[in-house]
């Protein structure tokens, strides 16, 4: 199995974050090509490439861009670098190892959606990576790559980094925009028809860092060049990642569709300590867990994981060996969700606390079968009845853990005399 380096090609190059190194390694070569086309032609190419969002949702980028108005008074591009999904750490590599690739992608994407102002929302904890990115942006301004005239073309692009302050929910795109507008990160009610997002009332596109960083390759190598890799419905490559009980944790870019088990063996070097595999969370904590048997059958693409009732998410695989307690793991995740819930709507605000307390009681051997039934019932109430997808994700996580590891959960129950 080989790494296909579309987005990560410069990661191991020394000083790859500096402009002079980046230029030597092909930075900004796609800009001329991009400006020789019209914005609509660029949107067309991206649509044809079937590029899917790499922030966890997997929505088609071309479709999103098509929703933007052709003659806006003002519009924005917002790059989502709030990367807080447990098990995910790929965007930090892009901004710290190849920030100029991101800037290149930003230029083309802004041009395509007719935006001139770009905000990169970066999580507060990534401060040292933010500094590297800011430095790259400064270099780009100095050399006229961005600013009043992008590389000499009569098109202005300004990029501003906006620092978050410790809220996972601000990775949800409408909560991110609320945060950018200076408010609490409460996700917005969803519109009744397909519409762009709005920042201060102006149409806006929110895209993940890796999604934008993929755009230069597609422009340079055409949509077909991207479709060459991956599968029919999951084209191209993804910065998959491995963490947990694995010998070689890290980020390894690879095309979609490869066998998950092979990925774990070949890039990850297998399970640490030669132990047996028990479970893998395939795409960051919010995706339902897979048993070892399912892992052996699964492929790393959207369709295959959907068949197993899970999702590709952010591609961050958390590997768990045979000695892992599934109850402890679930409790750990529910602690996370209870802490990160924004608290706006009832099922999530109250539900996340309650399910965490129930699983805590299971872990303490104080629970009964009734409590497990209650757990699944509350999980059902959190599914599909809230403002955003945070609570449904929690619901999916709970159902997968409890149903797929039923015996283990039951073994913790208080014995009824």
């Amino acid at each position: 199995m080989r790494e296909i380096k579309i987005v990560s090609k410069n990661f191991s190059v020394k000083d790859s974050h500096l402009l002079k190194t980046a230029l030597k390694n092909g930075a900004y070569e796609s800009i001329k090509e991009a400006f020789s086309k019209t914005p609509d032609e660029i949107i067309d190419i991206i649509t044809q490439s079937k590029l899917r969002g790499k922030g966890g949702g997997g929505a088609y980028t071309g479709k999103k861009w098509c929703l933007m108005p052709k003659n806006p008074e003002k519009s924005f591009l917002v790059v989502n670098c709030d990367e807080s999904e447990p098990g995910t750490f790929k965007d930090r590599y892009i901004i710290s190892k190849d920030p100029h690739l991101l800037i290149e992608g930003i230029i083309i994407s802004s041009y395509a959606i007719r935006a001139h102002d770009v905000y990169i929302y970066i999580r507060g904890e990534y401060y040292q990576f933010q500094k590297i990115l800011q430095n790259a942006i400064n270099e780009a301004y100095e050399k006229g790559i961005i600013g009043e005239k992008v590389m000499g073309h009569p098109y202005r692009i300004d990029i501003t980094i906006h620092r978050g302050a410790g809220a996972y929910i601000c990775g949800e795109k409408s909560a991110l925009l609320e945060s950018l507008e200076g408010k609490r990160g409460h996700p917005r009610l969803k519109p009744h028809s397909p519409q762009p997002e709005y920042l201060f009332g102006y149409p806006t596109v929110v895209n993940n860092v890796e999604t934008i960083a993929t755009v230069p390759y597609i422009i340079k190598n055409s949509a077909e060049g991207y479709l060459r890799y991956g599968t029919q419905n999951s084209p191209g490559t993804f910065l998959f990642a491995l963490s947990g009980h694995i010998n070689n944790p890290g980020v390894y870019e690879c095309e979609y569709g490869v066998s998950m088990m092979e990925y774990i063996e070949s890039f990850g070097g297998g399970i640490k300590g030669g132990k047996k595999l028990k479970a893998v969370i395939p795409g960051g904590a919010s995706t339902p867990v897979l048993t070892a048997d399912e892992v052996k059958k699964a492929r790393l693409d959207y369709d295959s994981l959907k068949k197993f009732g899970s999702s590709l998410g952010t591609g961050g695989m958390i590997v768990m060996d045979e000695d892992t307690s599934m109850v402890k793991a679930l409790k750990n995740l529910l602690d996370f969700y209870a802490r990160e819930s924004c608290g706006q709507c009832t099922p999530c605000r109250e539900g996340t606390g309650w399910v965490r307390d129930i699983v805590a009681s299971i872990l303490n051997k104080e629970a009964t079968m009734q409590d497990i039934e209650t757990l699944l019932d509350v999980s059902d109430t959190m599914n599909g009845k809230t403002i955003c997808v945070f609570a449904p994700a929690v619901s999916g996580v709970i159902n997968a853990f409890v149903n797929k590891f039923e015996d283990e959960f039951k073994s913790f129950l208080k014995s009824v005399k």
Partner: protein, 464 residues
């Protein structure tokens, strides 16, 4: 919202509605209400309580009625088994951290949580494993409002009121997750003339009225529709009162009454608290030269004073009196050959008026005075021998040899002082500053049995 009418089906019944109208409003109009906390007609929807969810054909998930505009052919079910289960479960979630304060909570009896539990809940408790979140209780946040953070369901009606209606921004949700709670800025309190409206807006007992705290259970109160007499705005109110055994009929609080032409859903704090003065420093006895006399002797004494008056008589009529009372006074004046007047300038208070519900004209029936052509001035003050005052505040400016004062409060000195019923103890018509005629009902039947003006005039009118 367009004017185009569409046909929708709600619970198998065909209903016509305006296209784009909010489904929750339509359901209210058609008396098919769904439960809700965060929606309010004056504040709009917030979509956070999730109680108003209904089933809409063609939609995978239940939809919140407060964010659903009505479309042609929409098929809605508000009472399917699935919706009933959703409602029950969401209610259960609201109740996890909600303290069972009912025995000591003023909201009991008019609490949406209680009502919805009886309608949609009534289940075996299973929340023993949930660890309750503890927050602050009975916080005095100013303007007679007490906040109990634990009881709050975070509907944010109070926040939306202070942000969008009064635009004073005192309240907000702080914290995150299930530690979210309502608060003011540290060290600051509520500070606007309409703050107490949030007590009525709050669907549960999180915001309660400090003045009303622990005074009465609401199911004992009778609500009489009346008109506030605080100013010429004529806001519609309910006077909530009760007559306990061995006690007198007492007013416990005033609430706002909806009137889309005048005050909408709200009233000002001063109007809301104006009932208090109706119980303080009241004139109960008839006094002749500062000595109490029986009501039975009043007629005789009144007749004596009239007979002894050779000069002019002026009657002053308070611009807060009802039209019926004013008309009776006019008739009475004719029989006494007296002039009537009601100076209106004294009621103007520039500092009180604002651009919403507070009028700078503190006379509730100033327009009534004008409609009945009662003059506002009297020229020949020097020739006056007797002034008969019907509760007018300008009485103190008329120094005459003889004086009779019909007054609600122990306000003025006069030769003959007679008590009269206050506006809540009688009924009548008022015209507000926008020329809207309204009727205020009688709330209180006091055992003091103070006659109202019309009853006095009836008693005294044939004397000359």
């Amino acid at each position: 919202m367009s004017e185009k009418l569409v046909t929708v089906k709600i619970n198998d019944e065909e209903i016509k509605a305006k296209e784009g109208e909010l489904l929750i409003k339509l359901l209210k109009k058609e008396h098919m209400e769904v439960p809700y906390f965060c929606y309010h007609d004056a504040l709009g929807a917030d979509g956070n309580c999730r109680m108003c969810m209904v089933e809409i054909e063609g939609k995978k998930r239940p939809q919140i009625a407060c964010d659903t505009p009505v479309k042609e052919g929409m098929v809605v079910k508000t009472n399917s088994d699935m919706i009933k289960k959703v409602r029950k479960n969401i209610l259960e979630l609201e109740l996890i951290n909600h303290p069972i304060d009912c025995p000591v909570c003023d909201q009991a009896g008019e609490c949406r949580l209680q009502d919805y539990y009886m309608d949609y809940g009534v289940y075996e408790g299973r929340i023993d494993k949930a660890k309750k979140v503890h927050l602050q209780k009975h916080l005095d946040i100013g303007n007679n409002v007490i906040l109990d953070q634990e009881r709050c369901v975070l509907c944010q009606r109070c926040v939306r009121f202070t942000d969008n209606i009064t635009k004073t921004h005192e309240l907000g949700v702080i914290g995150r997750g299930n530690h979210s709670r309502i608060s003011t800025m540290p060290g600051k309190k509520l500070n606007n003339p309409y703050a107490m409206n949030i007590v009525e807006l709050c669907p549960v007992g999180a915001l309660t009225n400090k003045d009303f705290r622990f005074k009465q259970r609401v199911w004992f109160l009778k609500s009489t529709p009346a008109i506030c007499h605080g100013c010429a705005k004529g806001c519609n109110i309910y006077i909530d009162h009760n007559k306990e055994k061995y006690k007198d009929d007492t007013i416990y609080r005033i609430r706002a009454r909806v009137n889309h032409d005048i005050n909408g859903y709200f009233i000002c704090d001063e109007g809301r608290m104006s009932y208090k003065e109706l119980g303080i420093n009241r004139q109960y006895n008839a006094l002749l030269n500062s000595k109490t006399i029986d009501f039975g002797d009043v007629s005789k004494e009144f007749e004596k004073i009239i007979k002894e008056t050779k000069g002019d008589i002026l009657i002053l009529a308070d611009a807060n009196l009802y039209l019926e009372e004013l008309e009776a006074i006019k008739e009475f004046a004719k029989t006494l050959n007296a002039a009537v007047c009601s100076p209106l300038k004294i009621y103007i208070d520039e500092s009180f008026g604002d651009d919403w519900l507070k009028s700078k004209n503190r006379a509730a029936n100033a327009k009534g005075i004008q409609k009945l052509n009662i003059p506002q001035t009297y020229e020949d003050i020097e020739k006056l021998e007797l002034v008969i005052n019907f509760n007018h505040p300008a009485f103190k400016n008329f120094l005459t040899p003889k004086s009779i004062s019909f007054q609600t409060h122990k306000e003025f000195e006069a030769d003959l002082i007679l008590p009269i019923a206050a506006f809540s103890e009688t009924e009548g018509t008022l015209i507000n500053e926008d020329n809207i005629t309204q009727f205020s009902q009688r709330a209180i039947h006091s055992k003091q049995k103070i006659p109202n003006i019309i009853e006095w005039i009836e008693m005294l009118k044939d004397k000359k």
